[in-house]
Amino acid sequence: MKKFIDFITNEKNHKFVIPAIAIFLGFFVGSIILILTGQNPIKLFTSIIRGVLGIDMSRIGSGRSVFNARYVGEYFVFAMPIILTGLSVAFAFRTGLFNIGAEGQLLVGSFASVAAGVTLDLPGVILLPVVILSGTLAGAIWGFVPGILKAKFNVHEVVVTIMMNYTALYLTNYYLKQLPGSDNVKSIPLPAGATLKSEFLIEMTNRSRLHWGFILVIIAIFIFWYIIEKTTFGYELKAVGYNPHAARYAGMKVERNAALSMAIAGAFSGLAGTVIAIGTFGYGRVLGSFENYGFEGIAVALVGGNTALGSVFGGLLFGSLSAAQPVMQSSGIPRDIAIIISSTIILFVAMQNGIKIILKRIKGAK
């Protein structure tokens, strides 16, 4: 016990101890709410295990099949885009910018990839890379606009990105309907060569929607890590984020870095949109409202401490809650519980200074 207290109160470990405490408290609060509403909180955890690992605990010993790989596949389908939007928000954060625009960047990325896939008639080998690049680039442009406005005219990026989220939603809906063959709800399916779909992955995961997008996600994680940790560009971005005055003193181009950082952040979100459009669905969708991938990205970045690896963990965590929602509903727990847990986790991560003070007190009392 003493060792445990030493471990959690050591400031060096705060980086992951605080998210861990927040996650624990999130589930704790969720469990209490379940008890108050007369439900068994164990069901919450069995739902998450089923949603993530595909193991149905209630069937153990019943003779029926316990494991269903489709859940695992669907879990990754949920986690992939929010890992990417998490990277997007985290990247901008590193330069001291708050990218609330991941949602809009994702939407334009999604649209651009569909538009490229539907309209371009390219040979097989080039088509897919061009489609992916179109989506990524569209997101980057959508991120660059608030970046350059910030750099040139000092317009606050939060205001611009929020506005551009709505612009993106209505603009992409309109133009998606204009694409050849689109009806009022969706575009025509993309040619197979322009999608990330894979019969092999689908078969392997018992007909889930799992697709090759996860390779793009892994590449994105690596690129994030490499830029931030290894390059002089990443060094500049961090310097600007931590202390713009010192960055200017050292001759760094603070404004240019802000604009570039927003563009790269936008590219990550654009890729997220691409992965959804050409991987999960294989066609473009007209959306009635935001799907909140961008906003979940903020939570992912927050829990992940704005690092590449942290965003992966954050994405897997919030992905698990999303994946568990349908399972929870089928076992009689309102899916809102999952949302309550997500929100509580975010709340406690946001309260990390409070948690730090409490940890300090525990240390002091010892």
Binding site: Y235, A239, N243, A247, Y249, A250
Partner: protein, 508 residues
């Protein structure tokens, strides 16, 4: 003798360090008691224990002879203890009166604040102790010296009997320091007791009655100021003999490195801060721009280094006009810059020491190749500088800059700037807020750079530093150079007059 405050055998530990180890402080009624020690000696910790911000592990505190348990600042206030923090805690867009009454507002019917009554009381107190303030001006519009008086009034308004001043002169001009000393004398005359935290010996000999010295968390001793010398106190504080005189031979200036012609620069409020300024700095000399804070010296430095755009004029560096070059270009041409505010400009506090050491050269080989940082090269670069400049930190190159002491942070900046061997080294207030040992080291280092043939442009607000370190002194007043004097042929009086605006013929 009656003691108002007795802190007996106080021990306060932080993880891995004893900030106070068996420290005793006894303050008599109606005296100014100085608490002297280098940065990190435990002065602030001791006062935080008295003010209730920290709880001591061992030891007792007595106020007016009664043992008390000060668990938080509110309890301290109840016992009549008030503190003027080094960084003022004022609401900038509130008026003086609003700041003073904050938390204790006198009210009329329906809970409305009776601002007239409050202002009247503020005026009464301010007249009683000679603290001149305008009760209706906003904090953001008044000088730093006046802001400090507001902080003092805040304590007096709360009937504080024991006043703690935490390094009160760090932000003040020489004139304001004199005024503050007068105010402190006035306060003790009226029966208040003062604890003055400082590392400036001169201030102690000016006003204090007793002086308690701490060194590395330990109690060294308490002396009567009238029966001791500054040298003795310095030795108690540092633990060895310290020389106040900067050891240097006469300068041998050669060619002109920096020549400024008719320079005009606006400040952040869009007013002309530097007006038609002309100045020359030669290789092998230390030229000091001296003046009272706010007379355009900060803008001048920012203009030369490129942090501020100039309005008009020329900045010739080795004969080449650099007035419109980028900051990076000026750095690369050979200008080193030790900035005035080391936390704001000099360091990225969240970076490690080695990352900070690379701040001006990370984009060059060997620290990076083709845009990729070379971690081994960064480490080696930093290790060499740490060794050469004797920079002390917890974990060497990987230490977070934030966790280092002020003196070592400044040494790191100096190491970084000197190592690039620039032709011109601009040092703006290089010893601000540092202790005697660090000041001594930095002065020696600057002289060494001068002797190796560099041009040094020094900007300083401390009279002692101006006189001891420089070869020539250019006095700046309201954005203009009012005179240039030879450091060996002038004195504090003459400089003081010039700083206040009286002109003097150019002496070369």
């Amino acid at each position: 003798m009656e003691y108002v405050v007795e802190m007996l055998n106080i021990t306060k530990e932080f993880p891995g360090i004893k900030a106070n180890d068996d420290v005793t402080l006894r303050v008599e009624k109606g005296e100014i008691h100085a608490l002297l020690g280098e940065n990190g000696a435990g002065k602030s910790t001791l006062m935080s224990v008295l003010f209730g911000l920290y709880q001591a592990e061992k030891g007792t505190i007595r106020i007016h002879g009664k043992e008390v348990d000060i668990s938080n600042p509110n309890v301290a206030n109840k016992h009549g203890i008030g503190m003027v923090h080094q960084h003022f805690k004022l609401v900038h867009n509130f008026t003086v009166t609003e700041n003073i009454i904050l938390g204790l507002e006198p009210t009329k019917s329906f809970g409305r604040i009776d601002i007239d009554k409050a202002a009247k009381k503020v005026m009464e107190i301010s007249q009683k102790y000679g603290l001149k303030v305008d009760p209706h001006s906003k904090i953001e519009d008044i000088t730093v010296g006046m802001q400090q008086r507001v902080e003092i009034l805040k304590m007096l308004y709360r009937n504080a009997e024991i006043l703690i001043f935490d390094e009160p002169t760090a932000v003040l001009t020489p004139q304001e320091i004199k005024e503050l000393m007068g105010i402190m004398r006035e306060l003790v005359k009226e029966g208040k007791s003062i604890v003055l935290i400082t590392h400036k010996l001169k201030e102690i000999s000016m006003v204090a009655d007793h002086c308690t010295v701490l060194r590395r968390g330990r109690y060294i001793g308490t002396v009567k100021v009238s029966e001791t010398t500054e040298e003795e106190m310095a030795e108690m504080m540092v633990g060895r003999e310290v020389s106040f005189e900067v050891d240097k031979v006469p300068a041998t200036p050669s060619d002109i490195v920096l020549k400024i012609e008719n320079l005009n620069i606006k400040n952040s409020r869009n007013l002309m801060a530097v007006k038609n300024l002309n100045l020359e700095v030669k290789a092998g000399e230390i030229l000091c721009v001296a003046g009272i804070d706010g007379n355009g010296q900060s803008e001048l430095i920012k203009g030369i280094t490129g942090l501020t755009k100039i309005e008009s004029g020329k900045i010739l560096f080795d004969g080449q006009d650099i007035a419109h070059d980028s900051v990076r270009n000026r750095t690369l041409k050979g200008i080193g810059h030790i900035p005035e505010d080391r936390h704001k400009y000099g360091l990225v506090l969240d970076f490690s020491l080695e990352e900070n050491m690379a701040l001006q050269s990370y984009f060059q080989e060997p620290l990076s190749k083709n845009g990729i940082l070379q971690p081994e090269a960064l480490r080696k670069h930093s290790d060499i500088l740490i060794e050469e400049f004797d920079i002390r930190s917890g974990q060497g190159s990987v230490t977070s800059a934030r966790s280092m002491s002020g003196g070592n942070q400044q040494k790191a900046i100096i190491a970084r700037e000197v190592e690039r061997s620039p032709r011109l080294l601009i040092a703006a207030q290089p010893t601000r807020g540092l202790d005697v040992g660090a000041i001594e080291y930095i002065h020696q280092r600057l002289v060494r750079e001068r002797d190796s043939g560099k041009a040094i442009l020094l900007m300083s607000l401390e009279m002692e530093e101006v006189l001891n370190l420089s070869d020539r002194i250019a006095v700046i007043y309201e954005g203009e150079i009012v005179g240039i004097v030879d450091a060996t042929k002038t004195n504090e009086n003459e400089l003081g007059l010039m700083m206040a605006g009286s002109r003097k013929g150019k002496v070369d």
